[in-house]
Symmetry: C2
Subunit: 139 residues, 2 copies
DNA sequence: TTAATCATGAGTAGATTAATCGGGTATGCG
DNA sequence: CGCATACCCGATTAATCTACTCATGATTAA
């Protein structure tokens, strides 16, 4: 029931980008220092984040990465969905489930409810909330 | 972010046991038929469930397994905790985390909140709720 | 004593994952 | 142009994890 490192790292990376107020691109090497993730792994994690429109990149000298959305418009739920595909704790909930007992599966409904509760919580938190020094007022 | 098969199967098995009203032990072979899980894997999954006090077993002829608690007193949260160790979507939340950035880790708090939301939901559902033919009134 | 049934530690094949590698491509500067 | 900087990306690997099986032992009732 653990998130992949990709999801956790994606959150770290986007948060790191969001914490740079300037509008200049941040190099991968800098992100690596700030997050403790290797440069090459960062490159791999950034790919889907770009495709999803969270990050814009600039090539060449003085290039780097920069947020393409306001931190207040990026929820943790969006990030996790981008990296994991879907927020669900059982495969039988993803796309068209192949489980032959799914028609009236009692336990399936439980996993569905639990997944949904988690998703609602993740969707209620934005990067901007995390930047705010106040320690999560509603936690 | 998926549950292990062990957790899902444990829920199936306990629900299967709960659905037998009689007080006679149910053989592993029967459980296997009802749940679609191999006998040997069931035996493995039942071990922690016995240790946790959900199931009592009777050896020998006419032996089998039987619930040792009322279905209304077994929550899905308890089942998942028994099988997974803890309900958390990030290792950095389990026991004493070894992550050196955990002191003031912003993202850690997010995973904490999401895990907690899921746990609350799972703890609110009992086996008795699932037995009830009414389709989860509050879902 | 025999058949039924649960108990358990060890083992295995396959999948998944985190991370690396080795190259490629765009950009700016002199 | 030629070179340095920096991002881009498909393929691969090493390690871990997981679902599941095996072989054998222990208990009970008839």
């Amino acid at each position: 029931m653990k998130l992949s490192a990709r999801s956790r790292y994606a959150a770290r990376l986007l948060l790191s980008l969001a914490s740079h107020e300037s509008n200049t691109p941040i190099r991968t090497a800098i992100l690596s220092e700030e997050t403790g993730i290797t440069i090459q792994f960062i490159e791999q994690i950034i790919r889907p984040l770009k495709k999803a429109g969270f990050i814009k990149s600039v090539r060449g000298v003085a290039g780097g990465h920069i947020l393409d959305k306001a931190p207040s418009e990026i929820t943790l739920g969006q990030i996790v969905r981008t990296m994991e595909g879907a927020i669900s704790i059982s495969n039988c909930l993803d796309c068209d489930s192949q489980c032959d007992r799914s028609v009236d599966c009692k336990t399936k409904k439980v996993w569905e409810r639990a997944s949904r509760a988690m998703e609602v919580e993740l969707d209620s938190i934005t990067l901007a909330d995390l930047l705010d020094p106040q320690d999560s007022a509603e936690a």
